[in-house]
């Protein structure tokens, strides 16, 4: 004969197993309700949710082969690094637009900007930025000069800029502009002034 305490023990365990199953089933249902469908998600707000500030973007123009300063009112966060990222992303949006004065291929992104003391900014581009960039000395130097000048003019203290692609060093942007070096802001100023005046 089965002892009575064993029957009670098995019965209790059976009840506990049933209740646990019911609880897990209930939790799965709640979780499914809390995850929205992919097509119901909303895009993240654009970077920079601070107060709007006036900045000067140095925009490359292919028609004249030069840079032109252009004022823009953009929301900027407080940190220098975030501000640097917001600036280059705003510049890139302009180049990706329909009436771009210096078209850059779809999919091009600036992954991050790191500010490294003293005075060094590291700009990390994605693969599409480099791989799909139009090839040529002037067209590539315009892109580099525009990024360098926009960053150094709006973020005080930057005097050198290094470009990486997907976090790694690359020999050139699209076969011409040298990415193996550090771009000295004073040198780029000289390059830009020649672009503005070169006959």
């Amino acid at each position: 004969m089965i002892p009575r305490h064993l029957i009670i023990g098995v019965a209790v365990m059976f009840v506990v197993a049933l209740s646990t199953g019911a609880y897990v089933w209930h939790m799965q249902g709640s979780l499914a309700k809390s995850v929205p469908d992919a097509d119901q998600t909303h895009p993240l707000p654009p970077p920079g949710n601070g107060p709007s500030e006036q900045v000067t973007l140095y925009v490359a123009h292919d028609d004249t082969g030069s840079l032109r300063p252009q004022s823009a009112q953009i929301p900027l966060s407080g940190g220098r690094q975030e501000r640097a990222e917001q600036l280059v992303k705003t510049l890139l949006q302009l180049y990706l637009g329909e009436s771009s004065p210096h078209p850059i291929a779809e999919g091009a992104e600036v992954r991050a900007v790191y500010l490294v003391d003293p005075g060094l900014a590291v700009v990390d581009l994605n693969t599409a930025f480099a791989e799909k960039h139009r090839s040529g000395i002037l067209v590539e130097e315009l892109t580099v000069a525009s990024l360098v000048q926009t960053l150094s003019s709006n973020i005080p203290g930057i005097n050198r800029i290094k470009f990486l692609v997907e976090g790694e060093e690359r020999e050139s942007l699209a076969g011409h502009a040298d990415l193996s070096r550090f771009y000295d802001v004073a040198g780029v100023d000289r390059m830009i002034s020649q672009m503005q005046t070169g006959q």
């Binding site: 082969g65 000395i137 020999e171 076969g175 040298d178 040198g187 390059m191 006959q199």
Partner: protein
């Protein structure tokens, strides 16, 4: 550049035309590449530096814009050089004045032939690594059509301008800095 004409083909055609023009004037030339070869930037500068040329002319082609963009090096701040061992990234520094003189003469020759020319500086490799006078020429179409780049007339005009400009500054080029 275009589906029909790649930059490698266009630049080789210009280079061959220039070589012919140089040789007509009794000047010997060395082409860094004679065919469809792929060389690294260091290989290019190595070949050029070993030859000790009077001038290194780097030819590029582009479908963007019009005319000629003539570049001299924007040399970075000089690194450490020890005797015969020159800092690789700023090797051009000692020759930059001669390079600029050559560029001025080339600009004048292009202008004589009414080819629109812009004179610029850029941090270009292998220009920065060359231990002689060095210029880069980016050739764009004359009127806007990429087919100009394969026109023998346009190629000839450019070759003549380059050779005339270099002959003009020859004495300076041969003198060591």
């Amino acid at each position: 550049m275009s589906d029909d004409l790649g930059e490698k083909t266009a630049t080789l055609n210009f280079a061959l035309r220039m070589r012919q023009e140089f040789e007509t004037h009794g000047l010997s030339t060395l082409l860094v590449r004679n065919g469809d070869e792929t060389l690294t930037l260091d290989q290019r500068s190595g070949i050029a530096n070993r030859a000790h040329p009077a001038i290194y002319v780097c030819i590029h082609a582009s479908s963007e814009g019009t005319g000629i963009r003539l570049y001299t090096a924007l040399v970075p701040a000089a690194g450490e050089s020890h005797g015969l061992f020159i800092d690789w990234n700023s090797a051009q520094a000692a020759f930059i004045d001669t390079s600029q003189s050559a560029a001025t003469n080339l600009t004048a020759e292009f202008s004589k032939r009414r080819i629109p020319t812009r004179s610029l500086v850029a941090p270009l490799r292998p220009l920065n690594n060359i231990t002689s006078a060095a210029v880069a020429i980016e050739v764009a179409p004359f009127t806007g059509g990429v087919s100009d780049l394969s026109s023998s007339g346009y190629q000839q005009q450019i070759a003549e301008s380059v050779v005339a400009g270099i002959l003009e500054v020859r004495a300076k080029l041969v003198a060591k800095p």
